[in-house]
């Protein structure tokens, strides 16, 4: 039977930095990947250098960037859920949870990848992870997929310990670089690229290992 993974993030490019190598690896191993992206990142601040986007054109540009990134990774199924960037935490929980339940029922994943609620810095990240966790927590224990979370808030390891899942993705670094650079409006951000072009070796050092926390469900 095909193994299925459901990836749930709020912004185009969330898949690129933390998990694109892992996804490329899983796809190579025969997994089917469904990526549900809640928003189009339409409130992003990066507009390209020099700016080639604006508040009006950004959603369409980021949609294309997302499609290109997913193609580079090899993701077979991309869903854009149409929520508004920055507003995920203000949606009625039953609305978002309902969307998560529909996806889980349809995809029937054995693995879900999302953000660790409370430890993922951006309110949309935390709200997205919280909805996924709430929805899966409600499932009978033996029907719950394993959930691997990304976390990166300052000091998060003091609370949730060290990651317990490490993926060496050096072999998939080319797909990962293509995924990251597909997000042109975001990737040109100076804090990412600095003042020099990153070499393949730099990228391996920086992005060659992806790490996750297995979510500890209660009950």
């Amino acid at each position: 039977m095909t193994k299925r993974v459901l990836v749930v993030f709020p912004h185009p490019d969330d898949e690129a930095f933390g998990t694109s190598g892992t996804l490329a690896k899983l796809i190579h191993e025969g997994w089917q990947v469904t990526y549900a992206c809640l928003t189009l990142g339409e409130m992003g601040r990066n507009m390209g250098v020099p700016p080639f986007a604006n508040r009006i054109t950004l959603p369409a540009i980021r949609k294309l960037e997302l499609e290109e990134s997913c193609k580079a990774i090899g993701i077979q199924d991309v869903r854009m859920l149409g929520f508004h960037d920055k507003m995920v935490e203000f949606e009625e929980p039953e609305v978002i949870d309902g969307e998560m339940k529909k996806l889980l029922d349809e995809v029937k994943p054995s693995l879900v990848i999302t953000f660790y609620p409370g430890y993922s810095v951006h309110p949309d990240h935390d709200a997205t992870g919280a909805s996924v966790i709430r929805t899966i927590q409600r499932l009978p224990k033996d029907e719950r997929p394993e959930v691997h979370c990304l976390a990166f808030s300052n000091g998060c390891r003091d609370y949730i310990g060290e990651p317990d899942v490490y993926q060496d993705v050096e072999e998939y670094i080319d797909q990962k670089i293509q995924s990251i650079t597909a997000h042109r409006s975001q990737f040109q951000a100076p804090e990412l690229v600095g003042d020099k072009k990153l070499s393949r070796e730099d990228m391996v050092l920086r992005f060659g290992v992806e790490s996750f926390w297995t979510y500890p469900f209660e009950g």
């Binding site: 409130m43 992003g44 601040r45 990066n46 507009m47 390209g48 250098v49 020099p50 700016p51 604006n54 508040r55 009006i56 920055k86 810095v121 951006h122 309110p123 949309d124 808030s153 300052n154 040109q188 951000a189 100076p190 804090e191």
Partner: protein
């Protein structure tokens, strides 16, 4: 976007005055501001598709620029504007980008919702 041309923006402000418009007004330090530097205060706001009608609208300053719109009972104000969308002749699209090119402030006016 282009660097603001004062007279072109002023002409557009004149063209759009005295009519009901949709406004998008935004100011943001970004969601990662305090994550990257804990001494920074994270702040952001936006109001989108509120209706506004101004009797007088002016752009001022030597760059970055300020815009003030006088409404029947109040004001709309934005400071730090650097760029405008020259190709958009029906709407006024203004933005302010910081030294890294990131959007910090936006002021947009349109007859149709955004």
């Amino acid at each position: 976007m282009e660097l603001i041309n004062l007279s072109e923006v002023q002409q557009m402000l004149n063209k759009l005055q005295d009519q009901e418009l949709y406004v998008h007004l935004e100011l943001t330090t970004g969601a990662y501001a305090a994550h990257v530097d804990s001494s920074r205060h994270p702040a952001a706001n936006f109001i989108t598709n509120a209706k506004v009608c101004y009797s007088s609208g002016k752009i001022s300053g030597a760059g970055p620029y300020r815009v003030g719109l006088k409404t029947e009972e109040g004001w709309v104000y934005a400071e730090g504007l650097t760029h405008f969308e020259e190709s958009d002749t029906e709407r006024l699209i203004l933005a302010g980008h910081d030294s890294q090119g990131k959007l910090v402030v936006a002021l947009q006016l349109s007859q149709e919702p955004f």
